[in-house]
């Protein structure tokens, strides 16, 4: 192994080690080298995989009328600021077998366990055979400002732009879809502006669709194409110059090795993008011109309101039944392709006996450029006389495909509308003093200045429910209601068994507490009362004695309780009375009663 070979291996290994670190997010894109072909003319289908070192793709794709086989795979590496990105390109050869419109269906591409699904593509195949040729660079490629464009390389131009017009001969007011395509060689990285700049005198430009991104092979080189769709409308006849469209971009263009070092770096298999040149560029299409024809005067309907395109019309009415003065809504939908923004409303026919108002309109586009869609006009109609049919509707437009005016007619629809009007009945008023504060029985015409105004109604912008007085009154009533609820609830509780039990317990507790403060003369009486209450014996000595005997107290305690009752009898009924209880006696009684209290509290 020579020294040079060793160096190449070393550099290659070093770069390979960087690969996993810098791989970008995975992305799969597909593109055809051409969207049109002839029978037998091969077209390339490119599947570009970014941010991966390998992918599982099908070997063949089954499409009737097309033979699609995987032809090969190529890899490109790019290094920017020590970050490595890789691009894998799988190329299929698509050979049309017969003419027709074909859809190459979406298919799965598996990358490191993840499945990505490609987009379906359309290929138009014409009859006859053609000598296969490399797709040519589009005609409208714009020359770039000197000094900005790097020299062309064998891989193709780094970038260019193309304006695709669907027609070159149009009528005033006709909407012409256009597509702006900006091609960037897939070796170039960078950022492009959000919207192109486009517009000029004598034409109006619709808003642009969002950029669609796809891959395309041009002159054997792989390009990333950003396409913007819009539509232009010529506003005057004659030859119309369509100015260039431009898009700002900040690109990382391939650069060259430093001067004098080219030979050295040429010895290594260096990744593309090793040397990059950052530039801000403006990519422009070439100006184009179209011929704008005036709308013919012959055959122009009187009610023609500027609609140019191809349209259909249908109408509905609601409600089908309207009471006096109630409006009927006639909804007219004009659908198709054309200048929806510039066209006027359909006209009503046979609308005598109806009061009509200028219609409201609403446009619903079915594409991104407002070329195809449906515009709905809503006519509010009020019957002057009883009506069984709505007015008819007529819509005139110019069809650029035939070069003639056309007319759409909607016959009247069935409806049952009673007569009514906006003009109020006139009533006389008394000139002079205003009479505010009364209801409004009188009706006065608005146009008569000397009419007394008679109106009642509110004198505040605050509704009744937000007024302070109303809120205070209701809050007071709510509080009163709650208070009554509370009283009733308490009363109910007091009368209930639980309430009574609670009350009795309180009385017993109070009686026991009262014993402590009872004076010597009252002590036995209060003690006896407590025993009666605690045993729930009423005021009957016999019943109390029976309760004591049947209680679970100890025999000593029972005896002591009997003794307390007897002592009470003595103090109350014995002649000469009984001596007051001593302190010891009192303590003894209290301890027995405490035992009784403790047992019954449980």
């Amino acid at each position: 192994m020579t020294g040079n070979t060793m160096k190449r291996v070393f550099v290659s290994l070093a770069l390979s080690a960087l690969l996993p670190v810098g791989l970008h997010a995975q992305e799969v894109a597909v593109g055809l080298s051409a969207n049109q072909a002839q029978v037998g003319e091969p077209v390339q289908l490119m599947v570009t995989v970014r941010g991966a070192r390998g992918a599982d793709v099908p070997q063949t794709l089954e499409v009737k009328g097309l033979r699609i086989n995987l032809a090969g795979r190529s890899t490109q590496f790019e290094m920017r600021n020590l970050k490595m990105s890789s691009t894998l390109t799988y190329t299929y050869l698509v050979v049309p077998q017969f003419e027709g419109e074909f859809t190459i269906p979406s298919f799965d591409v598996r990358i490191e366990g993840k499945t990505f699904r490609t987009q379906a593509m359309r290929l138009s195949v014409g009859g006859g055979t053609r000598v296969p040729q490399t797709p040519a660079l589009p005609q409208n490629t714009a020359p770039l400002p000197p000094g900005q464009l790097p020299p062309p390389t064998e891989e193709g131009e780094p970038f260019f732009a193309d304006l695709v017009l669907s027609k070159r001969k149009v009528y005033v007011g006709e909407v012409v879809p256009v597509e702006l395509r900006f091609y960037f060689n897939s070796r170039i990285g960078g950022q492009v502006g959000e919207r192109p700049n486009f517009g000029g005198e004598g034409l109006t430009v619709q808003k642009f669709s969002n950029a669609a991104k796809r891959e395309q092979v041009v002159n054997g080189a792989n390009y990333v194409v950003f396409s913007f769709q819009s539509a232009i409308t010529a506003v005057k006849s004659g030859t119309l110059q369509i100015p260039e469209a431009s898009l700002e971009a900040r690109l990382q263009l391939p650069g060259r090795a430093p001067q004098g070092m080219g030979d050295f770096f040429n010895n290594f298999p260096l990744p593309q993008g090793m040397f990059t040149d950052n530039r801000e560029v403006t990519i422009k299409t070439k100006p184009a011109q179209i011929e704008v024809l005036p709308l013919p005067k012959e055959g122009r309907p009187e009610d023609f309101s500027g609609a140019v395109g191809r349209f259909a019309m249908e109408a509905t009415v609601s409600p089908k039944k309207a009471s006096s003065g109630e409006p009927v809504n006639l909804k007219v939908a004009v659908s198709g392709q054309g200048n929806f923004e510039g066209m006027g409303a359909p006209v009503l026919t046979g609308d005598e006996g109806w009061r009509s108002y200028p219609p409201s309109d609403k446009f619903q586009s079915t594409d991104s450029i407002g070329f195809t869609g449906e515009k709905t006009y809503e006519f509010a109609l009020i019957a002057r006389q009883d009506q069984t049919r709505t007015p008819g509707v007529r819509f005139s437009y110019f069809d650029p495909a035939t070069g003639k005016y056309s007319e759409l007619v909607q016959e009247p629809l069935a409806v049952d509308a009673k007569a009514g009007g906006t003009t109020p009945p006139v009533a006389s008023g008394t000139p002079g003093t205003p009479q505010a504060g009364k209801p409004a029985p009188s009706v006065a015409p608005a146009s008569t200045p000397d009419v007394t105004v008679m109106a009642g109604g509110a004198t505040s912008w605050t509704s009744l429910f937000s007024r302070r007085e109303f809120l205070i009154a209701n809050a007071s009533l709510a509080i009163a209601w709650l208070a009554v609820v509370l009283v009733l609830t308490m009363r109910k509780f007091t009368e209930s068994r639980a309430g009574r039990e609670l009350a009795r317990k309180k009385v017993v507790r109070d009686a026991f507490a009262g014993l402590k403060d009872a004076g010597p003369p009252d002590f036995y009486e209060k003690a006896r009362d407590y025993i009666y209450l605690r045993l729930d014996a009423g005021a009957d000595d016999l019943a109390a004695a029976a309760k004591i005997d049947s209680s679970a107290l100890s025999p000593e305690a029972k005896a002591s309780l009997h003794q307390v009752i007897e002592r009470h009898g003595e103090t109350k009924y014995a002649a000469g009375g009984s001596p007051p209880p001593s302190v010891e006696e009192r303590q003894s009684v209290m301890s027995i009663l405490k035992e009784l209290e403790a047992r019954y509290e449980k």
């Binding site: 808003k207 109630e326 409006p327 809504n329 108002y357 200028p358 219609p359 409201s360 309109d361 609403k362 809503e378 006519f379 509010a380 009020i382 906006t422 003009t423 109020p424 205003p434 505010a436 209801p439 409004a440 009188s442 009706v443 006065a444 015409p445 608005a446 146009s447 200045p449 000397d450 009419v451 105004v453 008679m454 109106a455 009642g456 109604g457 509110a458 004198t459 505040s460 912008w461 605050t462 509704s463 009744l464 429910f465 109303f470 209701n474 009533l477 209601w481 009554v484 609820v485 009733l488 009363r491 109910k492």
Partner: protein
């Protein structure tokens, strides 16, 4: 005592001044000086509680000066204060025709407010509600439960609640609290986002009403009469109910 007399004197003076303003405005209107009349009506409204009659007269004066959208606004205000004020309704219809605004189908709320005085309805509902609430409660008073009272109370309560709810839903001072009128010459545009260059969803002719849902800077987010929601500039958009 002297202070009280002074207060009464000043209050009476203020009332006379307002009455003079209104009389003067009406006299100017009769003489065909509609601009002056409109100014005086506006001054009177600034100094007095709002009145459906004065808003209506202001609307007529503005109508005479060719200010259709502003006159329609004042007719609407008159109708908010007094939904049964037929002249204001007719005048609004005529102003809308002149502005090219199609009539809106009358909903049940409009039908209710055209026939029934809302405050009376709300008060009646409130009385019935509380009568029912207390009657229901009385069923639980001592001397035994009375089922009849409870049923009558509940029915009265529910009826009262329904009336209050109807009055609350129909009251234009509540339902139109977030509604505004386009006064800009040439109308306004409803856009898909709060940016001048965003997609135009619908045109809002001068005099049309919009329900405002929110505001972001100089943009309102709201709903057009057709139900389309979008953004429109705040310039020239005046709330139907004047801010306090």
């Amino acid at each position: 005592m002297k202070n009280r007399l002074a207060l009464v004197f000043f209050l009476a003076l203020g009332a006379f001044a307002r009455a003079d303003l209104l009389s003067d405005a009406r006299a100017r209107f009769q003489d065909g000086e509609y601009d002056q009349a409109a100014k005086l009506f506006e001054q009177s409204l600034e100094k007095s509680p709002p009145s459906a009659a004065v808003f209506y007269e202001l609307g007529r004066a503005l109508n005479k000066t060719g200010q259709e959208a502003r006159s329609a606004l004042n007719f609407r205000r008159a109708l908010i204060l007094d939904p049964r004020f037929a002249p204001a309704r007719s005048a609004l219809q005529e102003a809308n025709v002149a502005l090219g605004i199609p009539p809106v189908k009358q909903g049940w709320r409009t039908r209710v407010v055209e026939r029934i005085p809302l405050d009376a309805l709300g008060l009646a509902g409130t009385v019935l509600f509380w009568a029912g609430a207390f009657a229901g409660l009385s069923a639980f008073f001592p001397r035994g439960f009375r089922g009849g009272r409870l049923v009558a109370g509940i029915l009265s309560l529910l009826l009262g609640l329904s009336l209050v709810l109807a009055a609350w839903l129909c009251d234009p001072r509540i339902s139109l609290a977030n509604t505004a009128v386009v006064l800009t010459n040439g109308g306004s545009s409803l856009r898909s986002s709060p940016a001048d260059q965003s997609e135009k969803l619908a045109s809002l002719p001068q005099g049309s009403t919009i329900d405002i849902l929110s505001q972001r800077g100089r943009w309102f987010y709201g709903q057009a009469p057709g139900g389309t929601k979008g953004w429109f500039l705040t310039e020239g958009i005046v709330p139907l109910i004047p801010p306090p």
